[in-house]
């Protein structure tokens, strides 16, 4: 095992999806295979496991000839591989079927819900990385110091506490008791209908409209769930930063840099962190993906009308088209983030480039 592999193995989940691929062709093949796997799994869940999708549509009292007709309309009398092929084609065209719950095309629903989730997860990751990286560096440089203990405790809590429970308790304390933040939802109802959605991001939309009061209101709604996600991201990123930095600070090139008479500040930030950034990029991308996933629980707690809430609402109503559509979208983002982290990895580490 190389050092790089060991450090990456420190992550709870490592983005090694593409790491073995060296040529562009293999690169694309791996993405293709992964995507095919995602489609196969969702197809399997949606078509094979439920007792009978036809009965779900027509009800179990429908006469036999209706059932037959619907079965043919849905293409369920075709062989399984052909069904899968049709399914793949539809998904790639962005057609996830119609939601039973909202009677809209699933894609349309997802498109509407998506910005809310992105807004939350992005702010959370910015908080997590913005604080987590410096904290982790500090913890590694002063081992056993305040920052080190903080990283340790935050990590333990972050890996042990149920996020939905912490969200509830946060609402209880900061919204109900102290009144510091806005409650559930993205914005107070009073502002909701005066606003024309442009980007779908509440902060941007209110700012574009120049509605600073609404902006403040949206911010007060956003800050608690975003801090919550930020905390989990911070716990993970700071812990990983610490361990990557400890690894780098033990390397010979750090001694060489000291022997050159560089300042500690420069050695830590320019030399060690620059090297630690290589695996850290993967960690940050994964934590972003993790927050998107965590949004399922967080959004339920905060009644945040994003993708996560959409998926859970659909789950509770057995709306499989919507559930699988949401799963495919989140899965695609995961694959995309894996890809992105791999590209960044290659950009940051000159050793992966061949001349």
């Amino acid at each position: 095992m190389t050092i790089a592999e060991q450090t990456r193995g420190g992550g709870r989940r490592s983005a090694r999806l593409l790491r073995g691929a060296d040529t562009v062709g293999r690169f694309l093949l791996v993405i293709f295979l992964t995507y095919l796997g995602l489609l196969a799994v969702t197809f399997f869940i949606g078509r094979v496991i439920p007792i009978d999708p036809v009965l779900a549509v027509v009800g179990d009292r429908a006469p036999e000839h209706v059932i037959q007709r619907v079965r043919e309309e849905m293409g369920l009398n075709k062989p399984l591989w052909e069904q899968f092929f049709i399914y793949c084609r539809k998904v790639l065209q962005g057609d996830f079927g119609t939601s039973v719950l909202t009677s809209n095309p699933v894609m349309q629903d997802i498109r509407r819900a998506f910005p809310a989730t992105i807004e939350l997860a992005t702010l959370g990751t910015i908080m997590g990385a913005g604080l987590g990286v410096p904290l982790g560096v500090w913890a590694a440089v002063r081992r056993g110091g305040v920052a080190d203990q903080l990283v340790r405790v935050m990590g333990l809590i972050g890996y042990s506490v149920p996020i939905f429970w912490l969200g509830l308790m946060g609402l209880l304390v900061f919204y109900a008791r102290l009144g510091w933040v806005g409650g559930p939802g993205r914005i107070d109802v009073a502002y909701e209908y005066s606003l024309t959605p442009v980007t779908g991001f509440m902060l941007l939309d209110t700012a574009i409209a120049g509605e600073w009061e609404a902006f403040g209101n949206a911010f007060s709604h956003l800050i608690l769930p975003a801090s919550l996600l930020g905390y989990f991201s911070l716990a993970y990123i700071s812990r990983m930063t610490r361990s990557f930095m400890l690894n780098e600070l033990n390397q010979e090139y750090v001694i060489a840099a000291r022997a050159k008479g560089l300042t500690e500040t420069r050695i830590i930030w320019r030399h060690a962190l620059r090297n630690a950034m290589v695996p850290l990029v993967t960690v940050i991308a994964l934590s972003y993906a993790g927050l998107l996933e965590g949004s399922v629980l967080t959004e339920t707690v905060f009644a945040w009308p994003g993708l996560g809430l959409y998926i859970t609402n659909s789950l509770q109503n057995a709306d499989m088209n919507a559930v699988l559509g949401g799963t495919i979208v989140v899965g695609s983002i995961f694959i995309g983030l894996n890809l992105l982290s791999d590209i960044l990895y290659r950009l940051l580490d000159p050793r992966t480039k061949t001349r």
Partner: protein, 308 residues
């Protein structure tokens, strides 16, 4: 030299610590003792172990420990009472004693954790060792599948599985197990790759052992310890996922006193009767923390390379 074959009463420690063990049993016990010494010096890990043991005892003696019934409350007199001497953690909207429900809920938590471990660890172990020992095409194919699973959003995939299978604790367990084996396969494969090169594997091969026998009898046992450490570290994640499924109404169904479902129930009253949601959440936190501390301690004791 008078080597101690049967240890004298005071010589147990020396016998265990001996660097020239006389038998396999002595060597194994000695190693276990050495690991235990490292482990027991770690106070936080001991705390974790104590909490886990307490959880086991509570689950075992739930009927004796719970002061009230976890299922039946008095809607007229004991509904939504705050914590008091009679009801330490208060009562819920059905008038049920929350402490009693948490005590009984420990059984469900243990059930989930144990079952997921029993289902997922062997899958990972088999996939990883077979891939690592076979190499070539089988290895590539198995690991590609593993990587694909690793790249998926686990929680959401578990949600989709449960949605398809139908809500319920058993289906939640199956869904979590299906999504949590890939890391174990990775670990088992990495271990196998190093073991495969060992001379004694070559010796067994020369003696004509079949590949299956080599994998099952000679490679898998050596991978077990690192997989166990990883499973222990994952326990907290399993508990949290199960609680999350319960919170979303996809795990254990009412009136089962599952902790996540209890929080979902308490959510309706959180602004005024905070204790309904607070207590089960604290229980999840405590148990997850215990498994994390235990896992960290085990890793440090069994795998000195991992010590930071």
């Amino acid at each position: 030299m008078s080597a101690v074959n049967a240890p004298s009463p005071g010589g147990w420690r020396e016998w265990l610590m001996s660097d020239r063990p006389q038998s396999r049993r002595q060597a194994a016990l000695g190693r276990a003792y050495g690991g235990w010494r490292t482990f027991s010096r770690n106070r936080l890990a001991m705390l974790g172990l104590a909490i886990v043991i307490a959880l086991l005892l509570v689950a075992l003696f739930a009927n004796q420990l719970a002061p009230y019934s976890p299922y039946i409350g008095d809607l007229r007199t004991t509904r939504l009472l705050p914590p008091s001497a009679a009801h330490w953690f208060g009562t819920d909207d059905q008038g049920r004693d929350i402490l009693s429900r948490i005590i009984h809920g420990s059984r469900i938590t243990l059930f989930v954790v144990v079952l997921v471990a029993i289902l997922a660890a062997p899958i990972g172990l088999v996939v990883g060792t077979v891939a690592g020992y076979s190499g070539g095409l089988i290895d590539a194919a198995l690991m590609r599948i593993t990587d694909i699973f690793l790249a998926f959003p686990r929680l959401i995939l578990a949600l989709a599985f449960v949605a398809a299978l139908g809500p319920g604790i058993e289906n939640a367990v199956i869904a979590i197990a299906i999504t949590s084996w890939p890391p174990y396969a990775r670990i088992a494969r990495a271990e196998t790759l190093t073991i495969r090169q060992a001379d004694y594997i070559a010796a067994v091969q020369l003696m004509g052992a079949s590949p299956w026998r080599i994998v099952l009898r000679h490679i898998m046992p050596l991978c077990v310890s690192s997989v166990i450490v990883r499973v222990t570290l994952d326990m907290a994640g399993i508990i949290l996922t199960a609680a999350g499924l319960g919170f979303l109404g996809l795990g254990a169904q009412p009136p089962t006193p599952e902790w996540g479902a209890m929080i979902a129930n308490g959510r309706l009253y959180v602004l005024d009767q905070w204790w309904v949601a607070a207590a089960p959440g604290a229980a999840i936190f405590l148990v997850s923390l215990a498994f994390n501390l235990l896992g960290d301690g085990l890793r440090d004791a069994l795998d000195p390379k991992g010590v930071k």
